[in-house]
């Protein structure tokens, strides 16, 4: 059984370019390339989304912080798949025109991940000693200035490992784009599986390994950063 399994990895070798970049450069980008594009684009967008939601959620004004927390907790209580379906539905209705599947997924991932990023931002801000804010305000800065110039720069540095972890989750979550037909790695794998029929074990094991290599690299990076931060804090 094992021998048969190994010999069938030919199917991977035959389709390796398709796995990596889809029909690019002749056609649109797909495979691993598109997976990374989806992850990076949504990561950048949801960094800002998370920053805004996070800042709003630590606001002292209840009428700002309370509805923000409601939005955050609502998103966190719903499966990502549901969020993507909602986007698929609502975006065309809101914009009055069709949105490409890729953009729909990026917006869905951004919306979902922003809620989780906001909790990282919130924890980062709350982790800075209160004295910092008091000192900043007593030197004449306004509350928002103290936040932007004093608290956030220190907090953001502590948040970096958590952001990297969130990026890993995002890479894994891009596989859900398969459901609305975006040809990222998982979708490409199902296509090749449907075409070749005989090698599902090899194909899905292979893409699991590909995801693993990418995600594990970032997980290790996050661990290294965490250690370095601890070392910095210790001195």
């Amino acid at each position: 059984m094992k021998m048969a399994l190994l010999s069938n990895f030919q199917v991977i070798a035959d389709n390796i370019v398709y796995f990596m970049v889809g029909r690019w450069p002749a056609g649109p980008l797909g495979g691993v390339g598109l997976t990374l594009y989806l992850a990076v684009a949504s990561c950048i967008l949801s960094f800002f989304g998370g920053l805004i939601l996070g800042l709003l959620s630590v606001s002292k004004r209840k009428w700002i912080s309370w509805p923000t927390m409601l939005v955050i907790n609502t998103i966190r209580g719903v499966p990502l798949l549901m969020v993507i379906f909602w986007m698929y539905f609502l975006l065309p209705a809101l914009f009055g025109k069709t949105i490409t599947e890729t953009r729909t997924v990026i917006l869905g991932l951004t919306f979902f991940t922003s809620a989780y990023m906001s909790q990282i931002v919130r924890a980062g801000i709350e982790g800075i000693p209160k004295g910092q804010m008091e000192a900043a305000i007593s030197t004449g800065l306004k509350h928002w200035q103290a936040m932007v110039y004093i608290i956030l720069p220190q907090g953001l540095r502590n948040m970096i490992p958590s952001f990297v972890n969130q990026f890993v989750s995002l890479i894994k979550d891009t596989s859900l784009a398969f459901i609305v037909g975006v040809s990222e790695l998982t979708h490409v794998a199902t296509q090749i599986n449907n075409r070749t029929m005989a090698f599902p074990t090899e194909i899905f094991f292979f893409i699991a390994v590909v995801y693993f290599i990418i995600c594990y690299a970032f997980t290790s990076l996050s661990r290294t950063l965490e250690k370095r931060l601890e070392w910095r804090k210790a001195i």
Binding site: P79, M82, W86, D173, L176, F178, T186
Partner: protein, 235 residues
């Protein structure tokens, strides 16, 4: 969008209502069976991860890293499409006759969740002072028995909140099982949408159900923290 007429009766009674309710039942079955199985598997992995034997420690590490750094969707596909090559023929036949979709979904969800549970249990055990283990062993317990009678009962007590949260994650993640045809809540919501074009109503219903599950679980965890562990929010 403006010409859309809401028709909530679609989901409050009749055939489509029944579909959604049966979907909720499957979601709950999947989550309940999943949490029990993944707790058992997670417990084994956690004990192996902390074992003195290098072989156990290593295999647990490989399992944890691989499961946590690959997308759940890919794992579901691997078990659904690819497991027939790994399992004996008799098992395959039995599975095919008893609804393989549910079993494959359950296997994938169990394995994925068990990795997170193992880490929760491990951090629970690490929070128990070392002296407990030393005392247990010096009074004649073997490593495994000290774990069983002394360390784990204490660790499980503080691991319950993260475990319950894993149940919530499991309930949300089980939505991915729709991709292999498990007729759970999200599957049924989509089904109602394609039969009636009342997607807005169907997805609202499903979203509210997921939110209700998450509200109930968050409430229970808060109560447990407050009453049993005496951790008070905001204190």
């Amino acid at each position: 969008m403006l010409s859309y007429t809401f028709d909530w009766s679609v989901i409050t009674s009749g055939q489509y209502h029944d579909w959604l309710v049966s979907g909720l039942k499957v979601t709950l079955q999947l989550s309940l069976a999943g949490i029990i199985l993944s707790f058992l598997l997670g417990l084994i992995v956690a004990v192996m991860r902390m074992s003195h034997l290098k072989l156990f420690r290593w295999s647990a590490c490989v399992f944890l890293e691989f499961t946590r750094n690959t997308p759940l969707l890919v794992q579901i596909f691997f078990w659904y499409f690819g497991s027939y090559k790994l399992l004996p023929t008799a098992v395959n036949e039995w599975l095919n006759n008893t609804g393989f979709e549910f079993a494959a979904g359950l296997i994938a969800l169990t394995i994925y969740t068990s990795a997170f549970i193992a880490e929760d249990i491990r951090s629970g055990v690490l929070s128990i002072p070392k002296e407990q283990m030393e005392a247990a062993q010096s009074s004649g317990f073997s490593y495994l028995r000290s774990m069983q009678y002394i360390i784990l009962p204490q660790a499980v007590r503080i691991t319950i909140p993260p475990l319950v949260n894993q149940f919530l994650n499991l309930a949300k993640n089980s939505s991915l099982a729709m991709t292999i045809g498990v007729m759970e809540l999200t599957y049924q919501a989509r089904q109602v949408e394609s039969y009636t074009f009342k997607g807005f109503e169907a997805f609202t219903a499903a979203t509210l159900v997921y939110l209700a599950i998450s509200v109930v679980i968050t409430f229970l965890v808060d109560q447990y923290n407050d009453r049993v562990l005496k951790i008070h929010k905001g204190a």
